[in-house]
Symmetry: C2
Amino acid sequence: MRKTNNYQPVILAEQRVGHDFKFDPLTTKINIDASQLSAQSNKGLIDTLRQRLQQRLGVPVSIPLSLMNTLGKLCREDIEAITVTLAAGNDLDENGSAANYQLIHLEPGNQSHFNVGLAIDIGTTTVVVYLVNMVNGDIIAKASAYNSQIKLGDDLLSRIMAARDEKGLSELQSLIVETLNNLIRQISAEAFLQAPAISGVCIGANTTMVHLLLGLDPSSICREPYQPVVNKAGIVYAKEIGLEVNPLAPIYCLPSIGSYIGGDVLAGILVSGMHQEEELALLVDIGTNGEFILGNNEWIVACAGAAGPALEGGVTECGIRAEEGAVDHVTIDSESRVSYTTITNAPARGICGSGLIDSLAELFLAGIINRAAQFSDGRERFVIVPADESADGRELYISQQDINSLMRTKGAVNAALEVLFESVGCRWEEITRFYAAGAFGQYLPLESAITIGLYPDLPREQMMRLGNSSGEGARQVLLSNQRRREIEQIASRITYFEMNASNRFMDKYSGSRFLPHTNMEFYPSVKEKLAARQKG
Amino acid sequence: MRKTNNYQPVILAEQRVGHDFKFDPLTTKINIDASQLSAQSNKGLIDTLRQRLQQRLGVPVSIPLSLMNTLGKLCREDIEAITVTLAAGNDLDENGSAANYQLIHLEPGNQSHFNVGLAIDIGTTTVVVYLVNMVNGDIIAKASAYNSQIKLGDDLLSRIMAARDEKGLSELQSLIVETLNNLIRQISAEAFLQAPAISGVCIGANTTMVHLLLGLDPSSICREPYQPVVNKAGIVYAKEIGLEVNPLAPIYCLPSIGSYIGGDVLAGILVSGMHQEEELALLVDIGTNGEFILGNNEWIVACAGAAGPALEGGVTECGIRAEEGAVDHVTIDSESRVSYTTITNAPARGICGSGLIDSLAELFLAGIINRAAQFSDGRERFVIVPADESADGRELYISQQDINSLMRTKGAVNAALEVLFESVGCRWEEITRFYAAGAFGQYLPLESAITIGLYPDLPREQMMRLGNSSGEGARQVLLSNQRRREIEQIASRITYFEMNASNRFMDKYSGSRFLPHTNMEFYPSVKEKLAARQKG
């Protein structure tokens, strides 16, 4: 039975984590009284401006040749004030203040109250652009679209293959730049501004997406020596990649720490604040790949591994992406009656990742599948949406094969986490915070993910969804050079643990194919739920 | 009578002034063992390279996007070594070391023994390009040509007029860039290298020439507010102005301190070392404009003023530029017999500035003109080259009008210097060094210039020609970031003295129209010369 969906997707961090940051954006506007620039002995206009700005900022300011004439023209126009836009440089001092600035725009009048930038989350599937007010930090508008690179391949591996010659690489770069430019046009129109007014951009993305955006060859990411071209690209300029904002606008891609732990994951750490807390925290980002971060203010370890495509909607028989008409929440009562909701409440077209996780958990709690994740009565499938309720008159179901595929994902995640814990000599009970990051972290139903053992069973107040932490991390770094320094320090602090090199992984993997876990003691709340259902 | 010319024009400083500088060029090459860049845990290639370079240099190194892929390609080629070329940034620390570097080139193999740059002197008339070995400081080759901007105007003022619309400005920029590119092609061919191998450029030029090279509007240089667009342009990049060297090569124009005291003059101060000595020194650069610098290691004052076009060869009746067939040296004996030499010993075509100065001095010493610079016998002209010796069968002579025009130049120089001296409360006797800088400083006959009172009469060992000090200053700054800091400090130390605002100038001007000077006591050696001639 379809119910109305009241679920609001989380845009940015659902629970704002309590770490304030110093407001000191990537680009900043300063208003200058034009009379201060008029002829003083033999000083040049540009020299006078540079000196004023350097006095104000306390660090060197460089002025590109392309803007030198502009100032002369502006000054001849007999205006009262000039507003300069300055972009922080690559290098930051120990307090996270920029060691130098570059002038990137000059405009007549006092425009210092209006400065906008973009925080962008480039996912393999979805791209989200946030228009950010860099004067007060607010999000002015948001737009999202599929990553047009999908044309050349659904997943990372197929895109890396498509980029193996220069033509393919250049096409993939053009596709993502086109996606971004379309979103920029859309969001600019919505906010009634000209795209070149956008003065700075910060991007959260995985390592491969950053390579493709910058036109860097990603081939060594997935083959020997498994080494990206760059982890910390630093600031590049909009004109270098053809982004249609101010051509001199700095673009900062959040740093990665290798082929598998990208800026999107580091953004999760930054947003969670786990790198600053004494308490031990675990951050999990599950997609086709799973990334796992464990640590606190003293140490951070990371590992990554394939999680399988089960949640992406591409492999299960009725699976689709989280789009209009996707079944996203499912409950099954003790009489095996199903209720579900769909995205935008449209007639059901398929089941997305969160619907699948719900289905598996509910089938287990209802006793329809056993702890080994087999249908207790030996059936082949279980219908979630009857044919007469679906969009195309086709039954939507979950099959034993689908369940096996989900169990492989869950098993991989369990195994990775256990190997990671063992490696650092740490016990589950020591975890006092759990963060769900990434695209699935935003939408995955927490209770069901615990029920099937995908997430650990912790007191709920210790568990937190980070929302679109990649976008939120990008926003914070856009707004604070101190945050930029912080994420770069996080990157340098992380110890990466190579999962594939571990034999223990396969041992753990095979040992974790039960619901919720081989060792039920790890999942007290699931035990309670089962008991409650059996009672009820 | 024509004699053979043995005169060797001075290329760079005739007497190397005793100030050594720290060798630390604008661009530098470093050889890296390729094995040091191979995969280390999850580090990216670029990150590893950046880290190595930062460790080596002790300052941040930025790597432009355009070179990031190049490294990946080089590393896949299984080579043993990589050579990186690094360009020093704009900012220098207090020791004159670069505060940051940018990678500008990557090449296979160890090429660190070969790094070349250009020191360029852009004069209003003549452009000289020196190809400099940036590993040992040697000049490898030299080429010079007329500045093609002459097409649009002979002198500064007519070029500034020609640049008053954007088309004219852009044409003037193209012309100088074309002149430079032609010289670069010529010099590269001569040295058997490819022009893109040139990794850094340093330019000595007057304020207007720098504006035209950079495409900056020079109009306010010669009219209210008499303020250049920029004095210290800092580093720009070759691709920004279309110079056909490495497109990422830094181009540093020596700073100016206003419309009238350009980087060419500051180069003279730098090369002379007067800014570091306790002794008081006077530096004079006479062309159509005269620039005058007085000072020592504690203070420096400067002034500038029109000197008139007499020396340029364009206004005297038989005057030509210092080119093939120009009479450049003249002696007149007590019987009024003339001997002269010509440039390249070609048949005489006209008289250039140095020939005019010699003629005036010799006419005076021979008693043919009196102290008021009038022909004693009332004649109208004096023939230097008889018609049958000249190239076109025409007499070459110096007229009373020519003499008057030369006297105006001399008078302007005398007046400017006297006002300057008075302004700082300084007497002639305190000067212990005299430096002749600029194009005329290289070629002007010292003794004759003293005889006519254009130069002061000091013990000859205290007088020094700086040769092409603009080119030499550019070479030193190209080879030493410390020198760059020094010239920037000189620029900030100079007090500019506005000559045109001074009524005293006109008083002095009218009082200095005698040979060598109203007060003969200032010119003891000229007194002796006169006495000697009268005896002989």
